[in-house]
Structure formats: structure tokens, C-alpha cells
């Protein structure tokens, strides 16, 4: 063995922290970068909070008269019903846009810095996905300040459920966005996926109308849509007294959503970890 002095690789290796802490340090740094980049783009911050607010008020007021949320909830206004839907919409938009940055990272070359770093690939996916999750969840939770406007006064338990479902929904959507965006090199292609796949995911999640009011195949699609369960748990958290608006228990819903999140996260990880004879970036 060459002496320590004559072998710089070994010297540096000793100065390093163990591999597990490098994983967290790398994930942390990528997470932090997502946040810094987001808040430096003021228009992004404004757009992501303002557009769902606009949607909520316009759609909510417009549909209000022609909508019946189902037995027992007829007295609820549509603004009331649509509130969690608007919140999930904020989460969806923020998740999607933050994962679009992955395509930007690829095209602008930043991935070239990340991929040859001596870190577990899980750190790369984790940092990026948690960054998007944080942004999406925080934006979504900020929307809760409008709760008093619709006469909702959150209980502690209700708030807990709302936070948990928002976080999980954000994590699921960001992981999904990551898995989709990883192989893409154009934002246009990603837009096509958004319109074709991600928006319908939201439309058919109980955001606009409850599963119980849908029939046949539509209902079947809504039941296999993982976002339905996040929406449902959130609804339970916001309106604990109006049980009839929710279809499932919050515990089961969150479990299903967590299972889905884990699957897409693993899918994203597998995609990143795969090395081939084609250029990685």
C-alpha cells in the first residue's frame, strides 16, 4: 500500500464523512437549491398562488347554483366544496412546475454537475423530489389562510390531517413528475403530458365533483386515481363534521396515497440509477 502522503485519494477519502451522511448532505444541497431558485423567480411565486385563487373564486361562484354536492351536503355552497380541490390544484401546479426544472437542469447542464458526483443516486432523486414537495406543500398550506372565508375553523386534528394529506399529495405528484420528466429533453413534450395526463388526474380526483355523484366507468377511473384519496383525506381534515362529503376514512386514504408515492419514487430512482451505453446527460 502506498503511503498516505503519496496517495491523495486515500487522504481525501479519510477526510470524508461516511457514505450515509454524504447522501443526506447531497440531498440537502439539492433540496436547498430548489427552494432558492423558486423564490428568486417572483413571478413563479405569484402565479402559483394567484391562479388557483382565481380558479377557486370564479369556478366556485359560477358552478355554485347548479351544483348539488350530494345528500346531506346540499346546503354547502360550491365554494365550500371546491376549496380542497383548489388547494390540491396549487399543489399540482407547483409540483409540475418544479419538476419541469429537471428538464431545464438537463438542458442547461446542471445535471452534468450532479450525475458524476460520488453520491448514491437516491440522494439525487430525494433532494430534487423533496425540494418540489416542500414548495408544493407550503404553497398549498398557505391557501389554508382562506379557511375562515368559508367558515371553516380547523381543529388541531383536522389541521394535522390536512398537512399530512397535502404533504403526501405533493410528494406523490412531484415523484410522478420526476419519473415522467427524467427522460425528457423538451418542456413542450412535458406540457403535452400535463394536459393529457396530469390535469385529468386532478379533474377526476373529486376536486370538482364527488365520487358518489359519478357513475359507471367515470366512477371506476376516479377510484383507481391515487389523487382521489389525497383529496378525500384533505376533505375529511377540513370538514370533519360533514362526513358525507368524504368517501373513505382518512387513514386508509393516506395509506393508499403513501403506497402510490413509494411506487413512483422507486420508479424515478430506478430510472436515474440505470446506466447504459447512451449518454446520461
Amino acid at each position: 500500500m502506498a503511503s498516505t502522503v503519496a496517495n491523495p485519494t486515500v487522504r481525501i477519502g479519510r477526510a470524508r464523512q461516511p457514505q450515509s451522511s454524504v447522501l443526506w448532505s447531497a440531498a440537502y444541497t439539492l433540496w436547498q437549491r430548489e427552494l432558492v431558485r423558486f423564490y428568486r423567480q417572483k413571478s413563479r411565486v405569484v402565479g402559483v398562488i394567484a391562479s388557483p385563487l382565481l380558479f377557486w373564486i370564479v369556478i366556485g361562484s359560477g358552478f355554485g347554483r347548479s351544483f348539488n354536492a350530494g345528500a346531506g351536503a346540499a346546503s354547502e355552497s360550491y365554494l365550500h366544496y371546491f376549496f380542497p380541490g383548489a388547494l390540491v390544484m396549487i399543489v399540482l401546479f407547483t409540483s409540475i412546475f418544479s419538476m419541469m426544472s429537471l428538464i431545464q437542469d438537463r438542458n442547461e447542464g446542471f445535471l452534468l454537475s450532479v450525475l458524476p458526483a460520488p453520491v448514491n443516486r437516491a440522494a439525487i432523486v430525494l433532494g430534487k423530489v423533496l425540494g418540489g414537495t416542500t414548495l408544493a406543500a407550503v404553497q398549498g398550506l398557505i391557501f389554508l389562510v382562506f379557511c375562515p372565508m368559508i367558515g371553516v375553523h380547523l381543529t388541531l386534528a383536522g389541521f394535522g390531517i390536512a398537512v399530512a394529506s397535502t404533504l403526501l399529495t405533493a410528494f406523490a405528484l412531484t415523484s410522478l413528475g420526476f419519473a415522467i420528466a427524467w427522460k425528457m429533453d423538451s418542456a413542450q413534450a412535458f406540457h403535452a403530458i400535463i394536459n393529457l395526463f396530469l390535469l385529468p388526474l386532478w379533474l377526476l380526483s373529486g376536486a370538482l365533483f364527488p365520487v358518489s355523484s359519478a357513475s359507471g366507468w367515470l366512477r371506476a377511473i376516479m377510484l383507481i386515481n391515487p389523487l382521489t384519496y389525497g383529496m378525500d383525506a384533505l376533505r375529511t381534515g377540513l370538514y370533519p363534521e360533514a362526513r358525507s362529503m368524504a368517501q373513505f376514512g382518512p387513514g386508509l386514504s393516506l395509506l393508499i396515497l403513501a403506497g402510490f408515492s413509494l411506487l413512483v419514487f422507486i420508479a424515478a430512482l430506478v430510472a436515474v440509477a440505470k446506466r447504459s451505453t447512451r449518454p446520461a446527460a
Binding site: 502506498a2 485519494t9 481525501i12 479519510r14 432558492v36 447542464g109 460520488p118 449518454p279 446520461a280
Partner: protein, 353 residues
């Protein structure tokens, strides 16, 4: 895949690598005389197209090594394989004792990379970029800050540390790239056409700095280039053409193999015919390249007068020169440096993806 477990000592990891690879002597990982970079019969195909056709060479510790070749010669392909961004179709490489295929993370620790294209985040400041880089390599806190200052001082950007990268000039951005590549004290620095987009002054500065690195810190520098004057500054060169290694040696050795002078004639009309007749008369191996008659000749100055007298009115101009690296390239490949069909497309384009 990242295979070595957490907390494992790097020495153990290295020993394990060598064992699994069945290197000749598993007890010695990297002793003085061993090459720090070994490229052994690497072949790479992009689908049907062969980009590397069995390349082998080795690089010694603290060498400034150049990979010279026109666009499409396979330099960038080899670069991607060595930097663990791509697996070779076949063949093997070793960098500081580790195989990029089976043990990418060990290779990644030993190498620093400077790309032809940008790899910094222009929306962040210089310091933020370097901080992220440090964290990715497990550097942290005060020692990282010290190292960042040290690197910024070296590339003379300390006063611009808190500016967004997008506000810097192209040359300064390149310097950020270099600082980033060297932050974690890599043993081998790999650069892919590092002077792309730089003016001649900045180009000289960068190469000057690479020599200093080799001399003062013993860093092995491997740079790809398509510029002869850059290749001249390397200790040793591998010249590539169409995925093949066509020459290997110091610039002086390579030029010395030609020995003779280079004569180039511009014919008034028929270059092919003139070449034919010169060959018949003076028994020299003539070639026609880009419509010019070209041959190698000892003591060419004595040769010119009889040549001119033999073909009055047929020669527009004559040029005699000492052999250059391009002449080495022509001798080995039979065609000019820039005649090859570009594999990557444009001359100054970014990496293909």
C-alpha cells in the same frame, strides 16, 4: 450502481475493487510506476455507428495529457466513458485503480470534470454553485468555505463570489467551471474542450494554469482539444481519428517521426496530373489534399529550384515548412484534420445528448 456500503473505509473499498477485477497484483493498488489512467481496448457504438474502435493507452501520474482529434473522432465519447456518464460497449478503463463501470463512485471521487458546455447553475451566485458542488462531494462547513476561497483566489474570482453566474463574462464562467472541477482535490482532472468560446488570451491563461496544477499539485490533467497549438502544450498526446487512436507520444516525438520538411505546391491547373509527374520524375510520395500537391522531403530548400525548373508555368506557389502535428495527422490518416464528417454536428456545439 452504488455498491459500497456506508462507512466503509475507502482503502478497503479499493482493495475489494482490485480483487473483483483480478488485477495482476491485488496487494498493490497504486504504486509509483503504475499508470493513473488506463484505457484498455475500449469500443463504443451508438446504435449502428461505431464511435470508438478499440482504443488503448495509459496516462502517468502528474502528466498533462492531450486527446487531439477533429470533431467526431471519438474524444467526447471517451470522455463520457471515463467520467462514468456512459458505459462502454466493451473494453475496460481504470482511473486511480477503479473501474468506471463496476465502481463508478470510487472513480467519481478521484476525478474532477470540466465540460465543454456549461454545468453551473447561472441563476445562483458563484459561491452558491461551489457550495453545492462541495456538498455533493461530502465537503462541509468551515473547511469547505476555506477551500472555496482558496479556489476563487486561484481563478481570480474572489471579488465576484457573490454575483450571479449569469452576470459574468464567458471567460469568467469558464473559470468558475474550473474552480468547481478542482474543489474536491481530484487526483485526475478531465477537461472536454475546455477553451471552447474563450479568446486567445484566456485560452493561454487556462493552459498555463493547467501546467501549474501538474507541477505544483501533481494533478494529472487529461484534456481533449481540436486545436494544434493547445496540443503542443501537452506532455503527451493521443491523436484520434474516426474512433481510432492514430498516434501516441510527446509532440516532439510525433513530429520527429516525419523528420523531413513538408512541401506544398499549388498547381496552376491540374493538381492530380502534376502530382503524378512529380512522383515519376523525383521519386517522392506525393499526395493531393485540398487541391494541393503535398509531399515530405529532406532538405527541401535544395529540392525546390530543380522542381520549379522542371515544371515551368505549372506551379502557382510553393510552401516549405517544418512538420507540425497536423502533418503527423495527415501522415497517419491520409487526410486533412478538418475533412472528417462531424459526429457531434457543429464545430462549436454543446455535447450531443
Amino acid at each position: 450502481m452504488e455498491r459500497y456500503s456506508s462507512g466503509q473505509d475507502i482503502e478497503t473499498a479499493m482493495t475489494m475493487t482490485t480483487r473483483t477485477l483480478h488485477l495482476p497484483d491485488a496487494s498493490v493498488i497504486k504504486s509509483a510506476g503504475d499508470p493513473i489512467v488506463l484505457v484498455d481496448n475500449i469500443v463504443h457504438d451508438y446504435g449502428e455507428r461505431r464511435a470508438l474502435n478499440g482504443i488503448s493507452f495509459s496516462i502517468d501520474d502528474a502528466e498533462l495529457f492531450g486527446l487531439l482529434g477533429p470533431n467526431g473522432s471519438g474524444k467526447t465519447t471517451l470522455f463520457r466513458i471515463l467520467t462514468t456518464l456512459m458505459l462502454p460497449t466493451s473494453g475496460r478503463a481504470l482511473i486511480a485503480g477503479a473501474d468506471p463501470v463496476t465502481n463508478p463512485n470510487l472513480v467519481r471521487r478521484s476525478i474532477g470534470i470540466v465540460y465543454q458546455a456549461k454545468s453551473v447553475d447561472i441563476k445562483l451566485t458563484v459561491r452558491e454553485n461551489l457550495k453545492h458542488q462541495g456538498h455533493l462531494y461530502g465537503l462541509w462547513g468551515a473547511s469547505l468555505n476555506r477551500r472555496i476561497d482558496e479556489m476563487l483566489e486561484r481563478v481570480r474570482l474572489l471579488d465576484r463570489a457573490n454575483e450571479l453566474v449569469e452576470k459574468l463574462s464567458g471567460g469568467m464562467q469558464r473559470r468558475v467551471e474550473v474552480a468547481k472541477g478542482l474543489l474536491h482535490h481530484p487526483r485526475v482532472l478531465l477537461l472536454d474542450e475546455p477553451t471552447t468560446g474563450l479568446d486567445p488570451g484566456a485560452r493561454r491563461d487556462l493552459w498555463q494554469y493547467l501546467s501549474e496544477l501538474r507541477d505544483q499539485e501533481g494533478v494529472t490533467v487529461v484534456a481533449t482539444t481540436h486545436l494544434m497549438e493547445e496540443a503542443e502544450r501537452c506532455d503527451r498526446l493521443a491523436i484520434m481519428s474516426s474512433g481510432n487512436l492514430v498516434a501516441l507520444g510527446t509532440p516532439n516525438e510525433l513530429r520527429a517521426e516525419i523528420g523531413a520538411d513538408i512541401v506544398e505546391l499549388e498547381a496552376v491547373s491540374d493538381a492530380e496530373g502534376l502530382a503524378e509527374r512529380i512522383r515519376g520524375r523525383f521519386h517522392v510520395a506525393t499526395q493531393v489534399l485540398n487541391n494541393k500537391v503535398r509531399f515530405e522531403q529532406d532538405e527541401a530548400h535544395r529540392f525546390i529550384p530543380p522542381l520549379m525548373e522542371s515544371f515551368p508555368g505549372e506551379i502557382n506557389s510553393v510552401m516549405v515548412s517544418k512538420p507540425s502535428l497536423e502533418d503527423v495527422f495527415i501522415r497517419r490518416t491520409g487526410h486533412r484534420f478538418w475533412n472528417e464528417v462531424g459526429e457531434q454536428g457543429g464545430t462549436n456545439g454543446k455535447h450531443g445528448r
